[in-house]
Amino acid sequence: MSDTAPEILLSLEHVSLAFGGVRAISDVSFDIRKGEIRAIIGPNGAGKTSMLNVINGFYHPQLGVITFGGRARSRMRPHEAAAQGIARTFQNVALFKGMTTLDNIMTGRSLRMNRGLFWQALRHGPALVEEIRHREFCEEIIDFLEIEAIRKTPVGALPYGLQKRVELGRALAMEPKLLLLDEPMAGMNREEKEDMSRFIVEANRRLGATIALIEHDIGVVMDLSDRVVVLEYGRKIADDVPEVVKADEKVIAAYLGVAH
């Protein structure tokens, strides 16, 4: 963070989301600066995943304003959010199970491949050139994530840790401006977590992706993130750099419970 005012990539102002009578998010405001790693933490049921779903358009909040890249947006559908540069991974890995690793990552290029149906049907000329160019890009991502050995394996047959990696690869293939990661390290052992942390930091530094991530492992969160927002029961209870958040009484109470 430099002295000049940081550029805001995404901001949420007074966002509220309810399903019927259940309030998932109540009047939450925060922003994500360009180039940072932003963590969203909180106990189970705090509304973290709902928050990501709001950002990438799966859910539409009843109240509040969302501004992305300087433009306030109205109801936006997920594929439109993707077109604007928002990529994501899911809590329970959502890959295309019947397809190979390479094909899965290639789907991340969908929006950047735009040769018409006609050429594609012929699989010739411009469409073929385009296919090859994007294939090269995906091979770089595969190298980056060290998954060369499983390029041609149908992902349904892969162990969980590798599936998470392929899912990250698919999101990176979109060259996103904002990358949303929903518990990228859930269910991983120490070694896998270290690998994943490294990929996240590299994606942020080298590929220049702004990242918002949900994570339960507080140690990981403190190491990785520039700033942390803490949710509890759909409300924001803290929002600051990791050191401050860690010492915040409300946060400690939320995590450990406190005697009344």
Binding site: R77, H79, T107, S110, A121, G156
Partner: protein, 318 residues
């Protein structure tokens, strides 16, 4: 004893003693099978991409053929009528996406199935209203489809191949090969398979479900048009033709609802099996065997491979 002899020995003795008849029967079964495959392909395309079992596929076939003939009757030259019909099938795909699929997204499968029933009756009514309900002859000559037959002298006998059947088989093979390549090797094909696997994940990488649905319904419409032309040329174009589409059900059971190769192989097995059964075993049962034999074959298959011949293996981590 006699009955066993009649079932297990006589037919095969007949096949060996008159190989030309066998070839003739297999050929006719093959052509029928290719057309079953095409119809089944229409079902598979739509099911794969949208998870909808499209009950209206049979009617789409009749509707496409009827539109083609009807437009010609109203004075459009054959090629213009063909182009217009393709355009109408595209409009139908867009219409179905807007009016049926989009409002019903995320509803249970049974509701979408019922919606395709509705589509069926809409197409019947609309088709009759515009083009009339009486059977029409397919405009084979105007579309430059060959007529007549080729006689081949082989195996000490004569085999007659209808030129139309040869053309039908060729067109079907080209379509199937083209679609297979398209879905395996292109962006839209990949997007389609992605949508078939996981809607949410597909949305998150920016694939528009609406666009994919239009593409598959249009592809299914074009396949329906091709099948309609071929079946129409073999009999007449009328709404009775839709029962042919019911024959695609055993093909789908055999091939698996999600497999393009399955639809093809399943179609051929049903087509050839049906003709052989009708010709060699039919007389034993007093005929009519072709009405149910296909379902019987499919049922037998279900006992041993419930996911179908090529149905997607169910990969599950425990």
């Amino acid at each position: 004893m006699n009955i066993l002899h009649a079932i297990f020995v006589d037919p095969f003795a007949q096949m060996i003693s008159a190989p030309d008849l066998l070839v003739q029967t297999v050929w006719e079964g093959f052509v029928g099978g290719v057309l079953y495959s095409l119809i089944a392909l229409g079902f598979v395309l739509i099911y794969k991409a949208s998870g909808v079992f499209n009950f209206a596929q049979g009617i789409m076939m009749v509707f496409a053929a009827l539109t083609l003939v009807g437009l010609h009757e109203k004075g459009a030259p054959a090629w213009i009528a063909l182009a217009l019909t393709v355009a109408i099938m595209y409009a139908l795909a867009v219409g179905v996406e807007r009016v049926v699929l989009r409002p019903l997204v995320n509803q249970p499968d049974i509701i979408l199935l019922m919606a395709t029933f509705g589509l069926t009756y809409f197409l019947i009514g609309f088709g009759e209203l515009v083009f009339g309900g009486n059977p029409k002859a397919m405009i084979t000559e105007q579309l430059f489809l060959p007529s007549g037959a080729i006689d081949l002298s082989i195996l000490g006998g004569k085999v007659t191949l209808q030129k139309l059947d040869i053309a039908a088989a060729a067109i079907a093979l080209v379509m199937v090969a083209g679609l297979g390549l398209f879905f395996q090797k292109t962006r839209i094909g990949r997007a389609l398979r992605a949508v078939a696997d996981d809607h949410q994940a597909a949305l998150s990488v920016g694939i528009s479900l609406n666009q994919i649905w239009v593409v598959v319904w249009f592809a299914a419409g074009v396949v329906a048009l091709a099948t309609g032309i071929m079946w129409g040329a073999r009999s007449d174009v009328s709404f009775a033709l839709q029962v042919v589409a019911l024959k695609a059900l055993p093909v789908l059971i055999l091939g698996g609802l999600t497999s393009i190769p399955g639809a093809i192989v399943g179609g051929l097995i049903i087509g050839i099996g049906e003709k052989l059964g009708e010709f060699y075993w039919g007389p034993l049962l007093g005929g009519g065997i072709e009405r149910w034999l296909a379902y019987f074959i499919a049922l037998a298959f279900l006992l041993f491979r419930p996911q179908g011949l090529f149905g997607e293996r169910i990969i599950e981590r425990i």
